[in-house]
Symmetry: C2
Subunit: 311 residues, 2 copies
């Protein structure tokens, strides 16, 4: 099968009218005034972001979900995406049908469609780039830059799970199952992101670890964040010490929980929202006037380590 | 230097206001009614689409221009793009500054800006995915599917140059210079594409060779194209036989000339346009009622070969 056959058989069924049956050189999106189009791109590389021996359906879901998480962080409703996929010849026959199945399942779950892309071979490793598109009413997207002095810092869910899952990927203990699952397939917090549109002053999804992503929020608003280490929500895994769990939360990354700032007056709104969407929301810090450093650890902790860097 | 430093130093200067200084999880594009946003993605993979030892500035230009050519084929005005770049650690220090320089030069030349993307490492090979965005008035994009019975088939420029350049890349003959240059850095026909918005019934850019791309046009309109082999515009390279040049034109690919159908009544418009933009436009065929095959060779020629396939 050549690439046209793969596209026709596996990818065309995933498209909507914007893709025009993939029969043109490009997709056509009819703009509507009063709305912003929110655009983000994330690449997953074999050997860097995934092992390569995972189920291709899971790799597809992870690729889509790390992008969906960027939409959540902007408070945007995801509407469609495109896909650039490079696969070595010897892997293509097995990889593509399962990969497309994973996309299909998640498209249905998150209610979005494929609009186009590119399928090519590569010499050795798989490379997946998804560009995702979301919408907000004009001017309603949440930035990383508008935190205010006195804002509270909140985080969704628990932190550190994904790194625990990655580090213990080949261990078969029941209490590690959720962590391994979360590493394989993140949970983008779309509903939460949209619900925070008129609440959060700034927001980011935690992809590089709490320490680094909190630093982004503080730095972009030229404030300091005082982080209460005792309040950071950690997973209930008894065989891992609290100190190690805190380390995973601060520096592990790939959690894709939302970290956001808002005025203290929204406390009760957030409590109700948390019940409504069945997702823990925890106040873990406060925004203070900047002095010396962007991130201040309350309750003693060793100096911040470095987050994962590509280069 | 880590990826944040590369992004800040080399890519942020290439952005416009849609990128919001690359400080968010996504770019924000304010939609306007009455316009379509035209979206296309092309990937270039080291070892597949380029050797890897070219000047990174040339690789950047090629990456951008193959995408610009898709905008040309839609009759769209390119307005911005995003970039997903994966580079092995050992190449990043040399590659990125030159690559960004190439992008900058072409951005200025084609008047468009970067809005975001992703920079990651890869284990061995460079992978470049650009998603390009163009605009047309609503409904004005040119498809591949609306050719009419009796339409003429036109092509811009000359065909086969790029494949000649590729096959003779290490030969230093003066008459091969243009071919080698064209292989390295294509010439997207943006002005022509826009000028054809109310003229062409269907259009495609020739990336897979005339035979295959003409077949796309015929097939999408359920017509046959009778191709006049004597009329195909070929390069003036005396050391290559006419038969070989015709082969390169039909099956070589990477020419990025525009192939379009239009009513015979536009003949004099096209003659004037050709003078105005200083680009040869040649009538090479006609659309006939479909029978047996999509592509019919007028003036004897051996059976069509296969175009380049990825898998």
């Amino acid at each position: 099968m050549n690439e046209f056959v793969y596209i026709e058989k596996y990818f065309k069924p995933l498209t909507n009218e914007i893709a025009r049956d993939l029969k043109n050189d490009a997709a056509i999106f009819n703009q509507r005034s009063g709305y912003d189009l929110i655009i983000s791109t994330d690449t997953l590389v074999e050997g860097i972001h995934f092992f390569g021996n995972e189920d291709p359906a899971d790799i597809a879901k992870k690729s889509l979900r790390v992008n969906l998480s960027d939409m959540a962080a902007m408070g945007a409703k995801p509407v469609f995406y495109n896909l650039a996929l490079s696969v070595p010849k010897e892997k293509v026959r097995i990889f593509i049908p399962k990969f497309a199945k994973g996309l299909e399942e998640d498209q249905n779950f998150f209610n979005l469609k494929l609009i186009g892309g590119d399928l090519t071979s590569s010499l050795k490793y798989i490379n997946i780039t998804i560009t995702i598109f979301g919408e907000t009413l004009s001017g309603k997207a949440i930035s990383r830059s508008s935190s205010k002095l006195g804002d509270y810092l909140y985080v969704s869910g628990v932190l550190g799970l994904s790194k625990i899952g990655l580090d213990n990927f080949y261990l078969n203990y029941k209490e590690l199952e959720l962590a391994k699952k979360r590493y394989l397939i993140p949970e983008p917090r779309i509903d939460l992101g949209i619900a925070l549109q008129n609440i959060a002053n700034s927001m980011i999804d935690i992809s590089d670890g709490l320490a680094q992503d909190a630093t982004h929020l503080a730095k972009n608003s030229k404030l300091s964040i005082e982080l209460n280490l005792n309040k950071i929500p950690l997973p209930k895994i008894e065989t891992i010490s609290k100190k190690n769990k805190l380390n995973f939360a601060l520096y592990g990354g790939d959690d894709y929980e939302l970290l956001f700032s808002c005025s203290p007056c929204h406390k009760s709104f957030l409590k109700n929202l948390s019940s409504k969407i069945n997702l823990k929301l925890t106040k873990i810090g406060e925004f203070k006037k900047f002095k010396d450093q962007y991130l201040i650890f309350k309750n003693n902790y060793s100096k911040p380590k470095d987050a994962y860097m590509h280069f």
